[in-house]
């Protein structure tokens, strides 16, 4: 297909791949980016929230022409049982600022825009091309890629693997293992279209203000998982995700789960009368720090979801993707500037730089959280939400029972469900994993 040789090949045009390709092209490197979709974004799925700080480092004036939906002024956390939710809302007018901090976006549209920036910076972006294999020399050094185009072998000094969460190519080349079912979540999502005014009225929003609802509880049927509802301009992104291993064990089906979530009495009024225009599914890396594979080697680096860089506690992934892509590109540029070869030793600079960034610092902070939540899913996602909901109902319902008696009942419900040892143990383990 393409005879010439490139300084770098970037596989994939998601957040990480676009960040890497853009940075490399901006630094003057000869870049080829390969994407299997019809256009950049046509295979990409995310909630989605965009983090301005990380995009500003790549496209400082992105607000001028990027397809943004709503800037977030509110975050709602819901703990749900079958009939109720206990909520924690944070809303602040401080987020109505000149340069808003977070936006909702629609990935297919956003990625198309991002890809245009990559092309304007000088990278050659080739879509509708699936990379089938990494090309390695006799010593295992990655020297290029093979594609599904006729005669489709291309060579480069370094290959940036931004191939996404399933990481097919890296696993096939034995650079890392295929992710384990208990380290990835499967999320399904629907796009619910409603008139703009209806969304604003239902979510209490004005103009381009936006809100996010994240929900845990009986909606995941005892599995480790979370539901989400994001307000866009003229549609609502609604979805739910649980660990793949939990889907396997429980025999629950993802489409039944999302259907049940939609029919919950707290959710149904928000989307009533909507027109669903798309149903999608995607895997999310959930293993955290301990699941991060080898990040670099002879002739290659891995970035974004393919490197399992996702902060499951804060639900942040695309900013880690953008940042790892940018840092990998900067490391490659430094090695190239010194006219050094793209060896494992030289490319270790990427890991060193990533360790100093928020990406690795944040993931390290929560390194024990995945194990805790994944092994105690019944307690954290079923028992506690039900107990908290019952406690709240007991607190607000006026029925002639004395307040002292009510408190005793609530306390008793917690102790009989989890025992004193269980309650202290859960609190202690949670606090330690958080710290």
């Amino acid at each position: 297909m393409i005879e010439e040789r490139f300084d770098a090949i970037v596989i994939g045009a998601g957040m990480a791949g676009n960040a890497a390709a853009l940075t490399l092209a901006q630094r003057g490197l000869k870049v080829l980016q390969l994407e299997r979709g019809e256009y950049a974004g046509s295979k990409n799925v995310q909630g989605a929230i965009l983090y301005s700080e990380m995009l500003e480092k790549l496209v400082p004036n992105f607000r001028e022409d990027a397809p943004l939906e709503r800037h977030l002024v509110e975050q709602r956390f819901w703990m749900m049982d079958d009939h109720s939710h206990v909520g924690l809302h944070y809303r602040s007018d401080d987020f109505n600022e000149e340069r808003p901090n977070r936006y909702t976006i629609i990935r297919a549209q956003f990625d198309k825009w991002f890809s245009k920036k990559v092309q304007e910076a000088g990278a050659l972006v080739v879509c509708e091309t699936t990379v089938t294999e990494l090309v390695q020399d006799a010593y295992g050094k990655v020297i290029g890629v093979r594609t599904d185009r006729p005669g489709g072998q291309v060579h480069a000094d370094v290959v940036v693997l931004a191939e996404g969460v399933t990481g097919l190519l890296g696993a096939r080349a034995h650079l890392r293992k295929i992710p384990q079912p208990d380290n990835v979540a499967l999320a399904v999502k629907e796009m619910h279209f409603l008139p703009r005014e209806t969304i604003e009225a239902r979510f209490n929003l004005k103009g381009d203000e936006g809100t996010v609802i994240e929900a845990v509880g009986t909606i995941s049927r005892g599995m480790t998982g979370m539901g989400f509802i994001y307000a866009n301009k003229e549609c609502v992104s609604l979805g739910i995700g649980c660990l793949v291993s939990d889907f396997q064990k429980s025999g629950e089906s993802p489409y039944q789960l999302i259907e049940r979530f939609k029919r919950h009495p707290s959710v149904a009024p928000l989307i009533e009368g909507s027109e669903v225009k798309e149903y999608s599914a995607h895997l999310i890396p959930e293993g955290g720090y301990k699941a991060i594979p080898q990040l670099f080697g002879d002739g290659w680096v891995v970035v974004g979801d393919a490197a399992q860089l996702n902060n499951a506690v804060h639900r942040e992934g695309s900013n880690l993707a953008m940042t790892s892509g940018r840092i990998a590109a900067e490391a490659i540029f430094q090695v190239k500037s010194r006219r050094d070869p793209m060896t494992k030793e030289n490319l270790s600079l990427y890991k060193t730089m990533l360790d100093q960034s928020f990406v690795m610092k944040d993931l390290k902070k929560y390194k024990d959280m995945p194990t805790l939540l994944h092994t105690q899913s019944q307690n954290f996602f079923l028992t506690y939400p039900q107990l908290v909901s019952k406690a709240m109902q007991n607190f607000v319902r006026v029925d002639g029972t004395s307040k002292v008696e009510k408190e005793k009942l609530t306390l008793k419900s917690f102790v009989s469900a989890r025992s004193w040892t269980g309650l202290f143990g859960d609190a202690f383990r949670f606090a330690r994993a958080w710290r």
Partner: protein, 98 residues
């Protein structure tokens, strides 16, 4: 909430756009007598319900409605139950929103 809902995933997939690569399924199930537990779990775990039991009790795939999430690869490739590849460039699901 606890009763089983009758949901037809076909109604959901109907909204999606696909470019089907006729005659070139990107996922193949290894021939088997009786399905392994891993392969069986795909009957419910696949979000597009691409996996079905045939009348001999074997698991079959029809990948036309596949949304390319990779769940079956994570479950079924390490056990050797399925062979998984991306569709050819340009083919498969085409997300309008993603």
């Amino acid at each position: 909430m606890t009763t089983e809902l009758s949901v037809r995933v076909e109604d959901k997939l109907f909204q999606n756009r696909y470019l089907v690569d006729a005659g070139r399924a990107h996922i193949k199930v290894r021939p088997h007598e009786a399905p392994s537990p891993a392969l069986r779990s795909l009957l419910t775990a696949c979000p597009a319900r691409c996996y079905e039991l045939n009348d001999k009790g074997q698991v079959e795939i029809s990948a036309d409605g596949c949304v390319e999430c990779g769940t079956c690869r994570i479950i079924g490739e390490p056990t050797g139950d399925i062979e998984w590849n991306y569709p050819r460039g340009g083919y498969g699901v085409l997300f309008k929103f993603g």
